[in-house]
Amino acid sequence: MKLAVLSNVNMDPLRFCFQKNNALELYFCGYNRWQAELLDTNSELHKFAPDYVFLYLNAGEWNGEISGLLASVKTYLDYAKTTNFIIANFNYLPTEILINYDNDSYVNLLNKTMNDFSKENHQVTILDFNRIIRWFGYKNLFDEKYWYLGRIKLSNEGFKVLANEITHVLNCLQGKTKKVLVLDLDNTLWGGILGEDGMNNLLLSEEGIGRIFADFQKKIKQLKEMGVLLVSCSKNNEPEVMEMFEKHPNMLLQWEDFILHKINWERKSDNIAEVAKTLQLGLDSMVFIDDSRQERELLKQLLPEVETPDFPEDISLLNQWFVWEVVYPFFPKKQLTEEDKEKTIQYKRNLSRKNEELRTMNYEEFLASLQIKLNISELADFHISRVAQLTQKTNQFNLSGKRYTEAEISAMASDKNSVFFICDYEDKFGKEGIIGCAIVHIEEKKAVIENLLLSCRVLGREVENLFLQHILSDLKEKSICKVEGIFRATEKNIAAKDFYLKNGFIPINEQCYLFENL
C-alpha cells in the first residue's frame, strides 16, 4: 500500500512513526511543493502513484485560496481515479495577537467548504485534526522551536498522534472496521454485581457515580444506531438479567438492542466463538469489553483474533476511554450508509428466518414461503459507497476475492464497457437493501463476469442462482452470446467454488468458466 504525504510545512518526522508498518510504502513531497506536485503530471508524486494521499496544510502558514486548493485536489483525482485523498481539516490558531472570533470563523469557513467538497467526492475523506487537538491540547501537539529550526510544526507527540489517526482512517477506508461489540454486564454496564448486590443496589442512576454507567449505556446505544451489533456476555442467571433490563428505571439499553445474549456460566471464549458462528462473522470482527482483568487475559490467550482492549482502572474515565480507545480505533465511520442503520433489525430478521428453517421441513417450501423478491438495477451514484462496502466486507461469496474502494468503483462506473448489476433483496420479513452486485465487462458479443458478490446474510436461499439467471437474461437482451465467469479461490470463498458449474457453465481453466450459446 502506498501513502503520499503532502504539506506546506515539514512533515518528514511522520515517516518514522510508520516505521513498524512494513506494508506501507511512503512518499514525502518536499514541503510547499504540494500544489505543483498535484498538478504536474510528470512530478514524483504522479510517478509514485499512491493509493492514498494525506494532505495537511497549516492554516497559519497558508495564504492561498480554498477554491485553488480544492481545484488542485480535484484535478489530481480526475487523473488518479483510484486514489483516495485524506485531508486534515485546518486547525485553529491559538497564538494570534487579535483575540476575536474572526480568525476562528475564517477557519470554520475553510473547513465547511472542505467538508462539502468531501461529501460530493467519493475519493475524499476529511481527517478531523481539530478534534484531536481539542483532546490532546495544542501545546502538546505543536512545538515552535522546531518550526524555527527546520520548518516543523508538530511535536514528537503531535506526529505520533497524527500517525495513529491516519492509520484509523486508512483502516476505515479499507473496510477493516469491527462489526460486533461484546459486552460484559456486572461492573461494565452497571456498577456492582447483580447476583450479589441485587437490582436495587446497583450503581446506575441519573445522579452521582451511577451516572457514569447511564452515560456509558447512552454511548453504546449510539454505537448500535451506527450499525454496530451488540452482544452481551456475562456470568449471571438469565432470568435475573432479563428482569433487570425490564424493570430497572435507568436501563437505557433494552433487551432487544442486543442481537444475542450469552448469559450463562460457560467460558466466555466458548460463548464468543459460538456468537461468531451464529452470526457467520469472523472472530476478527469482534471487540470484547470486560472490567475483569482475568477474563480479558483468558480471552486474549484463547481467542487472540478478538480485540480485547484494557478497561480503565478509574471508572470515571469509562466514557472518554470508550470513545478514544474503542470507538475511534475499532469503529470509525466515514459516512453512514442506510444499510448500516438497518443492520441490527436485519440480523434479527435473519435469526427468525433461521427458526423458520427449523420448523419447515421442506426446503423448497421454505424458500417459497419466504416470498423472495430481487430487484436488480444499474449502478447509481448513491449505490457507490454501499457497493464498495460490500466488496470490502464480503468474504464467503466473493467470487474473485477482489476488493474495491469507492474511488475504484467510481472509476469503473465511468467506463462504458463495464456494467454493474445491483441486487436488492426483499422477502416477507422485510427489506434487506443492497445485498449483491456483479461487475461485468462487455466486449462486443462477449461478456465477462469479473466479479459477483453476495452478502452472507442471504446465502443459502438460492439468491445467488436467481441473481445469475437475471444477469444472463439481461445480457441476452443485449445480444450477448458468450458469457465467461471468473472464480479465484481465496481462503474464505471455497463454498462458492462450484457456483458456475451448477449453473451450466463449463470450466475453461482453473479461474474461468464459459457459458456458450446464450
Partner: protein, 89 residues
C-alpha cells in the same frame, strides 16, 4: 550507596539511554556511537536527523533544550554532558 558509586551508575545509565536514542533515531547499531560521533563522521546524522534526535531526547527524557543549544550541541559527548546537567538541575 556512597555518592561516588551513585554518580558512576547515573553516568552509565545516561550514556546507555542516549546511545539507544541515537541508534533508534539514525537507525544504526549502538556500537557505532562513540563520544566523538558527530555529523561529519556519521552520514545518517544530517540536518533533519539532528532535529529528530533532539525531539526524541526531549520527549523520552522529559527535558527541554533551548533553541541555541540545539544548534550548538553537535557531538555525542557534548549532548551527553548537557543532558546530565539538565537532569541534575
Amino acid at each position: 550507596m556512597n555518592s561516588a558509586i551513585y554518580l558512576k551508575t547515573f553516568n552509565m545509565e545516561i550514556e546507555k539511554r542516549l546511545k539507544k536514542l541515537f541508534s533508534e533515531t539514525f537507525n544504526v547499531a549502538e556500537e557505532t556511537i562513540a563520544p566523538n560521533t558527530r555529523p561529519s563522521n556519521l552520514p545518517e546524522w544530517d540536518s533533519l536527523g539532528h532535529l529528530r534526535l533532539f525531539m526524541n531526547i526531549e520527549s523520552e527524557l522529559r527535558i527541554s533544550f533551548q533553541i541555541n543549544e540545539i544548534k550548538e550541541l553537535t557531538s555525542f559527548e557534548m549532548i551527553m554532558k548537557m543532558v546530565k546537567e539538565k537532569i541534575v538541575h
